[in-house]
């Protein structure tokens, strides 16, 4: 057993211990210990995954589990950690570690009985995610996958006294289970067609499958993993489930878990099937584009901070899918190096999103927890109540808005570059598609910036908009600490993405067959040649340096005429009464222009009425105007609700069959019997 195996076992054991400790805990110190142990195990996992990325695959045989239910290889268990697994393990463990650390303080807002459940649940959740990454057989993968769904479901309904939370959990559970069904189909098709149930075995045999089977596998995997990743139109569960969960769980789900949908998709489509026809790529690209744009557009009009973040997860999954789709397209066109570029962008964005979305959810958790409301309109001014959290949220907002020098910018930049590289493929369809998608992506990131100015500005800046916000306490230090780790990663990966990119390219050597260079060096970017053979121009470190230089110049300008005295005075009030917080720009108001511009998309229902405000002595001094805008979310009505109501309607109609009349029941038997007799006679012909 080498170090990598040992570390994996240690971290699995640590997470299991954290789980048990959490569920069994009676005292607060045990809850804390559970979270800390989980965080530590995650940190070990991080080290282990980096070792595997640098040192190569842990083969399936090295960590086999004892034989279990025999009868069929379908039920075989086994662990395998190839570079793709390791990369996602890295994604899981870094965010997981920070989130578990932050949870130490976050959990304290719950009554003691609930804390233990939260601790154990979070530990188990992370454990199942680690297992999903390292599963080497379809059975273990499915078990871990479904366990992950279940544990997260129980965490979503943690506050189950709330009816919305129950409903959100149910939709999540059912959709996820249906998705697992689709995954099952794709796996079973692969397993029965190749006669193997390990990734290696399937990958070896999948090349010779008939196209029909491959298409079916692809579609099933896309639906299955796409649902977990919350790809439009299989996203209905996410905007409700994430806000309903405790915020550290939202961070784990939105930051980490949905990435595993991407993992599964890459595993099946590239790892097992080795790519496919171009319509696969175009399908993924289209869904990615729609997800990105629809996600951000709906995010903009949310006033619930956590819902807003949830919709951004849909957006970012869309962005990642754009990278995956572009990678598949390039591979199909015969450009493995370009495929590697696009996929590297996707993988890096996956990690980046895991970092900044966890960061943002933790920040939102602090804000929601300390103010007791999720409504942006009731927050405000939190930057003074919780400066550390505000700084962290600020970093996260910059990163998710793809602004330099943070990590989100790097991955989106890579994505733009890969789209641009389409011009060297000579395929006009690819060129035009990717150009359109580049515009979509640009619009998306512009709107994301818009949305986060709104979110940060309304929630953290200006004056408190409610008493809750005014009286908000200060969040626990471990929460801020966890955010600090994530923020540091966001900055580090933005300034020096070289190492991260090197790690992200390691799985691609296998997946795309591109001769992607290895070794930690500044030239990693140039090892991903674009189509024309030139090197890709980006030195994020230099950008950061130039920004620093610019700050120096600004500082010089400031100081050139002596040290400035800061004068603090009242806000400029146009000479009217002193403005009150009620006069501040609201979240609704902030989003209004975009609603207006994309009216055809939102189809807002606007109502305004006015009534005279009567004051003694009963003269009309003013009219009270009320304006409401309501945005139905037709996107939520896609796929799930119609299916659900259709099923219920069908069930109600069917239930009339069980009318209670015994004669009807006898008639069913009669009809069945005669029907079968006729069938046998008609199909089988007269007896010989």
């Amino acid at each position: 057993m080498n170090l990598r195996e040992l570390l994996l076992l240690v971290s699995l054991a640590g997470l299991s211990a954290a789980t048990v400790l959490g569920f069994a805990s009676r005292r607060p110190v045990e809850v804390r210990a559970s979270f800390l142990l989980g965080a530590l195990s995650c940190a070990i996992t991080t080290v282990q995954s980096v070792l595997v990325l640098l040192g190569g695959t842990l083969p399936a045989s090295s960590l086999g589990l004892p034989g279990t239910v025999p009868a069929s290889p379908v039920l075989a268990l086994g662990i395998q950690e190839d570079p793709l697994s390791a990369f996602f393990l890295l994604v899981v463990s870094v965010s997981g570690s920070a989130i578990l650390l932050a949870s130490v303080g976050y959990a304290e807002r719950y009554v003691p009985q609930r804390r233990g459940f939260l601790a154990g649940g979070c530990g188990l959740f992370v454990l199942t995610m680690v297992l999903v990454c390292t599963a080497g057989t379809i059975f273990l993968f499915l078990v871990a996958w479904e366990a992950m769904t279940l544990v997260s479901y129980f965490l979503v309904i943690h506050d189950h006294e709330d009816a919305e939370s129950r409903e959100a959990g149910l939709v999540y559970l059912v959709m996820s289970h249906a998705a697992t069904g689709a995954i099952l189909v794709s796996f079973l098709l692969l397993a029965t067609a190749t006669g193997s149930t390990t990734w290696e075995g399937i990958a070896a045999g999948a090349g010779g499958l008939p196209p029909g089977v491959r298409d079916a596998v692809f579609l099933a995997a896309l639906v299955g993993f796409g649902t977990k990743a919350a790809m439009v139109p299989f996203h209905s569960w996410l905007p409700d489930a994430h806000p309903a969960a405790p915020s550290n769980v939202s961070a784990l789900m939105s930051g980490v878990m949905i990435k595993l949908g991407i993992f599964g998709l890459l595993r099946v489509v590239l790892g097992l099937l080795g790519g496919g026809p171009s319509w696969w790529a175009y399908t993924i690209l289209a869904l990615g584009g729609v997800s990105a744009l629809a996600g951000v557009l709906y995010a903009i009009v949310q006033h619930n901070l956590k819902r807003l973040l949830a919709f951004h997860s849909i957006e970012n999954i869309g962005i990642i899918l754009l990278g995956v789709g572009a990678g598949l397209l390039f591979q199909n066109l015969g450009y493995p190096a370009l495929a590697a570029l696009a996929l590297a962008a996707a993988l890096l964005h996956t990690w980046n999103h895991a970092l900044f979305k966890s960061l943002l959810f933790l920040g939102a958790g602090a804000a929601v927890g300390e103010t007791g409301t999720r409504d942006l309109e009731r927050m405000g001014g939190l930057i003074r109540r919780m400066p550390g959290v505000a700084l962290g949220f600020f970093v996260g907002a910059m990163a998710i808005s793809a602004l330099p020098p943070f990590n989100g910018f790097v991955s989106e930049w890579l994505l733009f570059q890969s789209f641009f590289a389409a011009f060297s493929t000579g395929s006009v369809t690819a060129e035009m598609t990717l150009s359109i998608l580049a515009a979509v992506l640009a619009l998306t990131s512009g709107l994301a910036a818009y949305c986060f100015v709104k979110a940060f500005g309304i929630a953290f800046l200006a004056r408190p908009r409610s008493q809750q916000a005014e009286l908000a306490g200060s969040p626990p230090s471990s929460l801020v600490g966890g955010m600090g780790i994530l923020a540091a990663f966001c900055l580090a990966l933005g300034v020096a993405p070289v190492l991260a990119l090197d790690l992200a390219t390691r799985p691609l050597r296998e997946l795309t067959g591109a001769a992607v260079g290895s070794g930690v060096s500044l030239s990693v970017l140039s090892n991903l040649p674009n189509g024309s053979g030139g090197s890709l121009p980006l030195a994020p470190g230099a950008v950061a340096l130039l920004l620093g230089a610019g700050l120096l110049v600004a500082w010089a300008v400031w100081r050139i005429r002596g040290a400035p005295a800061t004068v603090v005075g009242p806000m400029w009030d146009c000479g009217l009464d002193a403005p009150t917080p009620r006069m501040e720009y609201t979240a609704t108001g902030y989003a209004q222009p975009v609603v207006r511009i994309f009216e055809e998309f939102y189809r807002p229902i606007e109502r305004s009425d006015s009534a005279p405000a009567l004051r003694p002595p009963w003269i009309v001094l003013a009219r009270v105007r009320r304006y409401t805008v309501e945005i139905a979310e037709p996107i939520r009505a896609w796929v799930f609700p119609p299916v659900a109501s259709g099923i219920f309607g069908l069930a109600r109609r069917m239930s009339r069959l069980q009318s209670g009349r015994i004669h009807a029941y006898l008639a069913y038997i009669f009809v069945t019997l005669v029907g079968l007799l006729l069938l046998v006679r008609a199909v089988g012909g007269p007896a010989p």
Binding site: F394, A462, A542, A549, A554, M571
Partner: protein, 321 residues
């Protein structure tokens, strides 16, 4: 031909000096030409410098409800704009340190500047700030796809998103660089420039009417040194955008050799080109009234059409030469 490190450094600093130093003047020219067109005298050409100096000497006043965002935003915004300078080939190719990033980085830096300014605008809690902030941000969001498509349109024939590479191709091709796709891309870029830099008919920096103002509403809370940084930054954002247009659309005149004489000549040429372009912009501004705010979306849509048309034409007729 690669230059020596000291020469590169000198050129690098020179670019900064050129843009920083020239941008108030360019603003003044803009204002003056506009005034002349409208039959007024207009401020003297050195007025912007005096204004800046005066503002730098003043203390900044902050609102009680403002946080550190308000304090640092001007500097960050300024720094982000400054960082774009080396991305554009001003007078020499390959431009010094020009390979650290490309035009997408430039878009990112402009977005950073916009983001932090818009955020600061919401900081104090004034109604105007929020209004300016939301307007700035949605206009910026609509401009981004245009910018990307324009970059693709200019860049696809050169196979690079770096302004240096695109300009180098233009210089080497000479007049053959001009082509129908280029023309469409230029039109798209000009529309983009108007939105991005807040010129008429999009925004009017001279107005303080709350129904219409965008940028002014955002910086309403600022005073003293901070305002100086913001105003200066605004000025050279215009210079940068115009400089980029020049580099992409009419790169002729940029020196490809590092001899002092040729580079000096190139500096002269670029100054003239900048002045000329500003004059053109100011004539354009003088001729239009401010549009309704939401027509910006129409404008950006039009720009998308042009940029995409350019891409399509590139495929059909080739990108020049």
């Amino acid at each position: 031909m690669t230059a020596s490190v000291p020469a590169q450094l000198v050129a690098f600093v020179g670019e900064y000096l050129l843009v920083l130093g020239l941008s108030p003047l360019l603003l003044a020219v803009l204002g003056r030409v506009k005034a002349r067109t409208q039959g007024r005298v207009g401020p003297p050409l050195l007025q912007p410098y005096r204004d800046l100096w005066k503002l730098i000497g003043k203390d900044a006043v902050y609102s009680k409800s403002a946080s550190w965002v308000t304090r640092y935003a001007p500097a960050i915004s300024f720094a982000a704009l400054l960082a774009t300078v080396p991305l554009i080939p001003w007078f020499v190719l390959p431009s010094p340190l020009g390979t650290f990033g490309d035009l997408i980085v430039l878009v990112g830096l402009l977005a950073l500047s916009r983001f932090i300014t818009a955020l600061a605008a919401t900081d104090a809690g004034s109604t105007f700030g929020g209004m300016g902030s939301t307007r700035e941000m949605w206009m910026g969001a609509l401009a981004e796809p245009v910018f990307l498509l324009v970059i693709f349109a200019f860049g696809s024939p050169a196979g690079s998103t770096q302004a240096g590479a695109i300009a180098a191709r233009g210089v080497s091709l000479g007049i053959a660089y001009a082509s129908p796709p280029l023309l469409l891309a230029i039109v798209a870029y000009v529309l983009l420039l108007l939105v991005e830099t807040g010129r008429l008919p999009i925004d009017n920096s001279a107005t303080h009417l709350e129904l219409t103002m965008v940028h002014e509403a955002m910086v309403l809370e600022y005073s003293g040194r901070d305002l100086a940084l913001l105003e200066w930054g605004r000025g050279f954002k215009l210079a940068i955008m115009i400089g980029l247009l020049i580099a992409l659309a009419a790169p002729w005149g940029i020196s490809t050799s590092w001899t002092l004489a040729l580079v000096s000549l190139a500096v002269g040429i670029v100054v003239i080109k900048l002045l000329g372009a500003h004059v053109l912009v100011s004539r354009l501004e003088a001729g239009v009234a401010k549009w309704r705010l939401f027509r910006v979306a129409d404008l950006t849509t039009l720009a998308v059409v042009f940029a995409f048309g350019s891409l399509a034409l590139t495929y059909v007729v080739g990108g020049g030469a």
